[in-house]
Every structure is written in C-alpha cells, then in structure tokens.
Subunit: 325 residues, 3 copies
C-alpha cells in the first residue's frame, strides 16, 4: 500500500517514479503522450527545451551503467537542467558519511531530482521516503525489483508500432527471475490490458507465483513465440545467477536464443525488442538483433523522450497543498 | 606579508581567495552582502544568473571531496560558467607533465579560475604565485592551513541568525590542531570582532601558541559551552592524527561529544554548526545534529551563495592598471 | 583510396576529420581561416557562440589524455554543444557490449559527433565506416597513425607567425617513427608547400621509406636545425619504444635535445613548437621551452580555435544528396 502511494502527491499526481505498480492506466498513457510531444517530425527530437532551466538533476548511480546513465543525462540536458554526476566511489561515503546525510546535503544544495540506480531492491523507495518534499526521485533500476522508465519506453515503442494494446500477444523471453525489467514490463503490459502475456523461460529462471500477476508461463520457446505480436528478449544476467542454474551459453542459445527460424513462428509483422546491452549469440542471434523486425535501437531513442517526459512531469508539478517548497 | 597581499590586486580588490588572513573587515562584509544577493525570498536561491557566462572554471581537486567539489560546481553553473573537472589521477601528470605545465596549459585554454584543493598546506598559494594575471585562484582547502570559503559561509550563517558579531560568544570544539577550518574560522571571527572566542579541545588537539590569535583555550567542554551563542563542532580528522594522540572514539565522545545535555549549557537560542561531513556519535550526537538548534544543512545551502559571491567578485573585477588581460 | 574519400561527403565537403592525407590545400586553408574567425581582437577567443546549440558531442577516449580531451571539451562547450564524456572503463563494454553496439546506441540517442582517441591505428576510420550518415567522427589520435587536429593547429600557429608556407624551412625533430603527430605534420606541410621539410632523428626513430613523403632525412641535429624557420620538437614516446632502441635519456638529450646553443643554429626569428606534454631535459631544455622563441602555449590556445573550426565545419554541413538525416 505504502509503496504504491509513495510516488503520488496528495492530489494523485506523479511525484516520484519508483515502480510501475500502482500507476493507473491513464497515468501511463499521459506519460506516453507527453513523450510523444518530445519527438518531432521525422523522429528527430526537439533537442533543447527550457522546461527545467535552473533545475538541478543528480545522477546517483551505485551500479555501473552506460546506456541508462547517458540517456538520463541527455534527457536532463535537453530539458536545460544542470546535471550532476556524483562519483559514488570517491564520494564522502568514503569518509564515513552515511547515504542519508549525503542526500540531505544534496537537498540543501537545492538539487531537485535524484535519479537512482542501486544493486539493492528497494533503494529508490528508501530514498524517496526520506527526501525533502521538493525533491523527486526516479528509480533507474533497483536490484531485481523494478526499472520503470525501461518499461515505459518499451510501452512507448510498442504503441508507436502497434497502436492499441488490447489485441496484442506479447512474449517476454529469458531470465524473468532476476530481471527488474521483466517485473516492470509485466505490470505495465497488464495495466495497459494486453490480451495475452507470456513469460518464456526454463523453470529455474521463472520466479515463484508469477502467474498471479496475470501472465502465462511457457517453458517451450516455440510455443511462446507462436502468433506473438511483440517479442521482448531479456539480457541473460550472467552475473546474477548461481553457477548450477544454467547449462552452457551455447546450450541456452540453442534452447532459448532467438534465431530467424524461431522468429518466423511469431506473426509476420512481430517486432523484436531488447532492453540492452545485448549478448549476441547468447539470448539473441546477431541476424535478428540487426534484422528488419528489430526495434532495439528505436527503444534507445525513445528512452530519451520518455525520460524527458517523466522528468518534466514530476518536476513540473505545482506543489500540492501541505507540501513544502 | 607576501601571503597577505598575494590575494589582492594593486587596487586592493580581491583577485584570489587563498586565506582569511589579510582580509579587512569590510572586505568580508562585502562578500557576505554579495552572497545575500544570491539568496532570494523564502531562502531559495536565484538559480541561474548570467554573471560568468563564457567564463571557464576549473576544479582542481587533488584530494577526494564530494560536498565542497559539488557546491563549487553548482555555484559556477548557477553563474552560467562552463565548468571543467580535471581528473587528476588520469591526467597528464601520469605522462610526466609537471603541475605547473598543466596549469599553464589550462591558462592557454583561456580558463579563468582554478578552484584548488590539495593535501599540502600552501598549494593554492604556490599556484596563485605562478598563474597568469587574468586567472583567479580559490583555495578550497589546503592541508591543515586554510579553508576560507568554509569560514565565510559560516560567517554568513552566523550573521543570518545572530545579526551582529560583536556581542557573541563563540565556541569552536574539537580537533583545532589539524583543522584548516578552525584556522580560517579564528581569523574570520576575530576580524569580525566577536567578544569572546573559545577553542575547546584536549591539549593534544590544540596547536602551539594559538592564544596569540586572540582565542581562549578551554579544555573542559562544559566550561567551553557555558553561555555560548554559537557552537561550532569540528570533524574529528581521524586520518590526520597519530595513533597515540587520542583514546577511543567512545571515550572522545563522552568527553568532547556534543549531546543534548551538554548543549543545554549554552544559551537557549544557541546555534550548532559543523562543516561536515559529520561523524555521528563521535563528535556530535545524532539528536543534536538533527535537532532544532542545528543549522548544519543551512550551512550547506549558504555555501553555494557564498561561493557564487566569491567567484563573481574575483572574476568580475575590471583589471587593475598594469595587469595583463 | 577509400581512406582518403571516407572523410568527404558526395559534394567534397568535410564530413569526418580522420587524417590530413587526402585534404586539398584549399580545404586546409578554409579550416585555418574559419579558426581565425574564432580568435578575436587581442588573441582572446569569442568564448561562446551558438553554432552547435542542441548538438551533442561525445568524447570517446580509449587512451588517457588531459590536454586533447580538455580542448575538445572546451571547444564543444564554446560552440554551445552538449558534451558527453563516456567513461570507457566503467562503460557497457564491461558487460560484454561490443564497441559497435555502443556506438549505435549513442547514435540512437541522437549524438551528432564522436571524438575518438584510441591506441590502435585505424580506430577512427573503423568507426567512421560504421556510423550513421548524420554522425561526424573526429580523429583525436589513433595509435601511431594520425592526429590531424594537432597538425592543423600547428599549421595555424605557423601561419600566424610566418604568413606564407612556401618559403619556409621546417625541421621536425625526434621520435618520427612512433609519432602520429609527425605523420600528420608531414602531410600538412607538404600539402601547404613548404620549400624544405627535414625530419631529424637517429636511424632507429625514422620510419621506413619516409623520403617518399617528400622529406629530407637528417641524422645530425646541427645540420637539421641550420637555417630553419620552424623547429617542431616531438615528445619522446618512451612508452612506445622497445628497450634497446635508445640509449639513456641523458644521452638522447645530449645528442637530440634542443638547447639554447643548438637553437642558435636556426634562423634568429625561428619559432619552437612542441605538441606537448613536454619532457623537460629529455627532448627540450626548460630554458628553450619557456624561452622567447617558444610558441608552445600558443599552440594550446590555437588548438581550441582550430577544433571549434573543425567541429562547426563538419557538423554545420547541409546534408548532401543521398545522405540520410
């Protein structure tokens, strides 16, 4: 309960973006519509808008990242915000300052937004519970829990290609169990009302009780792909898995890797997505990743527009009654 | 002599800010007044002013720092300057280039200001003696010598709470001996004419002949706090001390740690300050650091306004006769 | 063949800057003239022009660098571009993402320019062959192959001091064999038509068949310097050389080091140049590096104007027929 309401202000507007859980359908649609406004004619983005001029966005990345960090930095700069990248390793935590003291210091410096990536599930929620009322927190990935902006940019990409969500059959293939992307995707897709949502993986990579979220569990890749409109491949999170859980990469690829042959089982106009970075020859063949049905690089482009939308919507709110400034 | 005049131009205006020593009372007041202009109604800063547009500020931090580095970066950005953060470890010094060659190269790139933090006392002075006439140097902390912007932001904070300096009793508590903050504070407070200035510490943490600076040395915390208007706690610089100088942290806390009980000895409206980062339970109890009399986070906020003031005053000078451009 | 045309678009305009080879004389002169426009009265640069506002420049430095990285960053900022510095070590390559996947991701983020430094010869060419049509690539140094912006800023510096190239005698002294700067300089100086170009080094530091490029090989420093208008000293790339190739640094200095005594053999108004960082007492005496004939720091200043010129010329092109946007 607390988790779901934490990200809204007293008038129900988005204050933080921590997780897809608890977002209403209309709220997701509003974000996608706002993102659309940041894409101009011919798929080129309006590069510089003054919406967040004078605001300060802080990237707090406790986990290595290039793609996500860079897109958040670019999104903030294209909104004309000042961007701080805190180098966590050489930071004051070395001197024994606690995380919360660091956050309170950044707040005192009139920072307006914390974009947080952390290896621990719940880190962004923890931070959101402790920040000053004028600060917004964006979860850029916490452990195996959530990665809401990734899910939103995926929804944006699907909508651009497919229009309506209701008639779609979507297959999410790969390491569902350790993937924060999968968790956020499932919540987004069910909220938007896709007619069939399949998660496709070996038993060891399926989390317990995942059916309760409204998905069909499929262990056979062929069955999972058959008739799908959208195929979302997940990165094999090698570093998160125990040694004995999986056979070799080659064996995984032969069973769950997406090849052109396998993709032919999906609808002819199916799109192939991947949150990146891709492991070529592990979960996806290069010919598919670079092929005509792949929208993987469009996802990256769309990520900037979606992050601009989320940043401008959370920071652009007029403060609700009872909130400090 | 040289040291005191090095930071002024031939017309007596501030060219570098290296140390509080040698600043006249009026010059300190001018800085505080300028900083005040950067704080707008409701304690929110004017976030973006074009005063240093087109100027380039270089942060040269040879010592790890988050808070000070970040506030200088934010101050420069809010003045619309371009900011360079030179990564000292991966810099050309690795290739055998000397520090002065690096500085002259940065000057040749039309950099306008060096903000310097270094573990060696006198580093900022050394640099100031060698830079081109158009470059200003700000000392962001050199060894155990000086940290003038910290002292100025503390003066700013005291003035906002207490108005006049003359009637005040101020207690500086902790590791006076190894603290560049303490040294700068003592010069600032005596120049501004506080009626009583006490330094409170065990004998091993009091520098030789400190009384000659106009302070009262007190070894008993109760006596040091009694009747104080302002209590400034210093960070216990563990890494700077010899092994045998101090007992355990717990014993230090029981003797010199600021608890609610101890604070009750000061005036009822006394304010508690700390330059950060704080060691909770070592020099200060969490209940005091987070308590109603603490202005620690205000110091951080004020630090940005004060650094904006120093940067704009030193870089905004019209060049004096005989100075190159 | 391919290499020479890769950097031009179908209308012969500069699209990438990869190497001096293949640039026509007029094209080099155009770059120098454009750079001149970025230098204002009194040798101060126009600090901020809006030419690349809304463009994103990515610095991809796979090799440590301070000077070159910093001047490219400053040049981009003074053109009002947004600048990304990708930390290659902590980047997605760690997660197994290939270089080309990283580039395609950056393209998808609407990045407009890659400034590339890499230890492998040909790296910038490889990248230029694979980028999207709207992206420009600038070679900021690849292995021992080329460093074209360094050569251009050197031409700019020579032209400012000497006017015409045709009558000049130029001596390049030092480690010709391992120097990308030397290779680019030779192409630039012969294209601009200097009357005499000498390379001066021991046999072990002269590349095979260098005479075919139109230079005179001289092994004796005195003979090499005699009557020269321009003396360009190269950094002794210690790290690139095999152990047995050279005697001690002291012996090298006594044979090939530029001292005041040696410099007296050149014309009285000869200028001394060095791409930096200099090894004082190895290839050049401090008294010469800091002396009246040295223009080493001017080279650094000019580097910003020249890089601004190259960036604005390659990115400012209207797309040629058949190029995507």
């Amino acid at each position: 309960m607390r988790r779901h309401s934490l990200q809204h202000d007293s008038e129900g507007r988005l204050h933080h973006l921590l997780t897809i859980e608890g977002l209403k359908r209309q709220q997701i649609v509003d974000i996608l519509d706002t993102a659309e406004s940041f894409i101009s004619v011919g798929d080129r983005q309006v590069r510089k808008v003054p919406l967040l001029r004078g605001k300060t966005v802080v990237n707090l990345f406790f986990e290595a990242s290039t793609r996500t960090l860079t897109t958040f930095e670019l999104a903030a700069k294209r909104l004309s915000a000042d961007v701080l990248k805190i180098n966590i390793n050489t930071s004051a935590t070395v001197k024994g300052e606690s995380l919360l003291d660091m956050l309170h210091n950044l707040e005192a410096m009139q920072c307006d937004m914390f974009v947080v990536r952390h290896a621990d599930s719940g880190a962004a929620h923890l931070i959101a519970r402790h920040v000053a009322p004028h600060v917004s927190v964006i979860n850029a990935g916490d452990g195996s829990h959530a990665h809401p902006t990734q899910a939103l940019l995926d929804m944006f990409t699907i909508r651009r290609w497919k229009g309506e969500f209701a008639p779609l059959t979507v297959a999410i293939v790969g390491d569902i169990k350790h993937s924060r992307v999968a968790r956020s995707l499932i919540h987004a897709l069910t909220t938007l009302g896709v007619s069939a949502l399949r998660v496709v993986a070996p038993k060891t990579l399926i989390p317990a009780a995942v059916e309760s979220l409204g998905v069909h569990v499929v262990h056979d890749l062929d069955a999972g792909l058959r008739g799908a409109d959208v195929v979302i491949m997940l990165r094999l999170q090698k570093e998160r898995m125990q040694g004995a859980m999986l056979p070799s990469e080659a064996e995984y690829f032969s069973t769950y890797g997406l090849t052109e042959e396998k993709l032919a089982l999906a609808k002819p106009d199916a799109i192939v997505m991947h949150p990146g970075p891709i492991n070529r020859g592990v979960e996806i063949a290069s010919s598919v990743a670079d092929g005509a049905q792949s929208v993987i690089l469009e996802q990256v482009s769309n990520g900037i527009a979606v992050r601009m939308a989320v940043m401008s919507m959370t920071l652009g709110r007029a403060p609700a009654e009872g909130e400090g400034a």
